[in-house]
């Protein structure tokens, strides 16, 4: 199964990965080769086979709703690329120039 350059560009957009045209072209070649290999799965008849998403028969796990220890604001913010007071500074979600400041 080969992918077109446009398809690769669309997947990169969905994956939130900005890449150069040259990288997109390489990706197109490599992903197509991998998908060609993976297409062997199509040879198998899997009618009526239950999908296996997880090796364990996982069920919801409940616990008592009790307060445990948690990170302090300083600990939680220690790795922030842009700390603004006790908040994470982020670029504006809408179309403005400056990050939100406090």
């Amino acid at each position: 199964m080969s992918l077109t350059l446009d398809e690769v560009r669309k997947v990169a957009k969905l994956a939130r990965l900005e890449m150069s045209d040259a990288d997109l072209a390489t990706m197109q070649k490599q992903l197509s080769a991998i998908l060609d290999y993976v297409d062997q799965l199509g040879q198998l008849n899997t009618d009526g086979v239950e999908p296996l998403a997880h090796p364990l028969p996982v069920a919801n796990v409940f616990r008592e709703d009790v307060i445990g220890t948690c990170l302090t604001p300083d600990e939680a913010l220690a790795n922030a690329p842009n700390r603004l007071a006790d908040f994470f500074g982020v670029p504006a979600v809408f179309d403005t120039d400056e990050p939100v400041s406090h």
């Binding site: 969905l14 994956a15 900005e18 992903l31 991998i34 090796p55 364990l56 220690a78 982020v90 809408f94």
Partner: protein, 486 residues
């Protein structure tokens, strides 16, 4: 024999007999790292002064007669995918450059509680994606048996650290073979426990339905010892299973009576190196001498495992790695952009090529219009692969074969061909898909003195017997005593 060539069990015995202190042991390993790691390049970060301080506390505890943990005074290296409080944790990725976790992974907390000494963090393929450790964004780890060759991956740093005697034991993670394959290529013991046996809390997730943490050691006893410490239920990981942890070290030397070894013909087909095959056949004969019975079994869907894996693992990774968006921690682009643009630039700048490739593949496999053809199809074939194992284990107690199709390959040999690299995990991947346990033990060398590993696969939660089976062979051979000249 110098301190650094000893096993954890020997280091514990030396301390108990008053013949070595935790400080002396730690100093010896730090000196070994200072001397040899420039050649091996196993470590991302070394805990010098802190490790010595912990060692001094353990020596003082011993002197005072206080109760000591099961790994007291034994240094351990930790793969850089596991969070260590106050110690940089990068996943060998630029996107986590400078990240310092505010908490310990459960396995790290358990090792600390057992009085182990965290000596450093080890290099790996970025986000555990790779089979050679060449995908690290920082350095290329060398195979201690031949510096021109790769140590395997993705836990190549942890495997090389133990093989080169830079640490007596280490932890790795295994999503498709990332413990067993480097253990095989470096001539040491590595286990992938049953899915759910060891808590994944604090492990930076790659593929959540496949990932497991496990130890690298020189021998099977040390492996059993580490497994006793790190296994067991953890309320922080809802997929960790609440089942008692057997005392693996206590039963290790109990003979397995009437052992039935399943030998799948699919593990001896095209692509298997003849020297590797010969070593595996010889190991199987050794088992027969020890009273085991070899039984032909079949895993008919083996040839689909790599395909299923590269859909399932990449789909899960594309979702797990969405958290690296440059907002709360990790790399954020310096370029000016809106929110979505900031995500895309941060990720495009700081994820390496293989990570981007896998995120792309996983995103595609989950995308509208392709999900049924790829992801759902892969999950169905995953069921067939698990059914193969269920059927095989009705006829045998353990399955054996090669861990990897070849011994260690040369640096750069497969780096331009992702598919060829993926195929080096051909014998290890199905174990993760089925959620069963696997172990690699040294079973010989090629003519050019490269280690070969024998893989054991066992039914879920049957590590106790699998370790005993591995020990049977180890007790009759001396491969595990070999150390490379670095």
């Amino acid at each position: 024999m110098s301190l650094t060539e000893k096993t954890a069990a020997e280091l514990l015995a030396l301390q108990a007999a008053g013949k070595a202190s935790a400080v002396e042991i730690t100093d010896a390993f730090l000196a070994s790292i200072a001397d040899r790691d420039q050649k091996v390049q196993a470590f991302m970060h070394v805990e010098g002064a802190n490790a010595k301080a912990v060692a001094a506390v353990i020596d003082a505890k011993r002197k005072s007669g206080a109760k000591l943990g099961a790994l007291a005074g034994v240094p351990i290296a930790i793969k850089d995918v596991l969070c260590t409080k106050g110690i940089p944790t990068t996943c060998s990725s630029k996107i986590l450059e400078g990240f310092v976790p505010p908490y310990d992974a459960t396995v790290v907390a358990r090792l600390k509680a057992a009085d182990a000494i965290l000596i450093g963090k080890t290099n790996m393929d970025e986000f555990a994606m790779g089979s050679s450790t060449e995908n690290s964004a920082y350095k290329t780890t060398r195979n201690p048996w031949d510096p021109e060759r790769i140590p395997g991956g993705s836990s190549g740093g942890s495997a090389a650290a133990v093989a080169a005697c830079l640490a007596p034991v280490s932890l790795g993670t295994d999503t498709g073979g990332s413990i067993r394959q480097p253990a095989s290529l470096c001539g040491i013991v590595g286990i992938k426990p049953t899915y759910g046996r060891v808590s994944r809390y604090g492990m930076i997730a790659f593929a959540s339905s496949l990932d497991q943490i496990g130890p690298f050691t020189h021998d099977v006893y040390d492996n059993a010892l580490l497994m006793e410490i790190i296994s067991g239920f953890d309320p922080h990981d809802a997929t960790s299973v609440n089942q008692p942890v057997p005392a693996y070290t206590k039963t290790l030397n109990d003979k397995v009576e009437g052992l039935r070894i399943g030998v799948p013909k699919e593990f001896f087909g095209e692509g298997l190196d003849s020297e590797v095959e010969a070593a595996i056949r010889t190991a199987l004969k050794e088992y027969e001498k020890l009273g085991a019975k070899l039984i032909d079994v079949s895993l008919p869907h083996s040839s689909y495992a790599v395909s299923v894996y590269y859909i399932v693992a990449t789909a899960e990774a594309s979702s797990n790695l969405a958290r690296f968006d440059g907002m709360h921690y990790g790399h954020r682009t310096k370029q000016k952009a809106d929110l979505i643009g900031t995500y895309a630039k941060s990720r495009g700048e700081a994820f390496g090529k293989e990570v981007q490739r896998r995120i792309m593949l996983g995103t595609y496999a989950l995308s509208s219009g392709y999900k049924d053809a790829y992801y759902l199809k892969a999950l169905k074939v995953r069921r067939l692969i698990k059914n193969d194992f269920d059927a095989a284990f009705e006829k045998c107690d353990v399955i054996m074969g090669p861990t990897a199709p070849t011994a260690a390959f040369k640096k750069g040999e497969k780096s331009d061909n992702p598919l060829a690299m993926y195929l080096s995990d051909i014998y290890t991947i199905s174990c993760n898909l089925a959620g069963i346990a696997g172990l690699s033990i040294p079973c010989g060398f090629t003519k050019t003195n490269l280690p070969i590993g024998l893989q054991l696969l066992s039914p879920p939660f049957d590590e106790e017997r699998m370790l005993r089976v591995a020990r049977m062979y180890e007790a009759a051979t001396d491969w595990h005593t070999k150390r490379p000249t670095v």
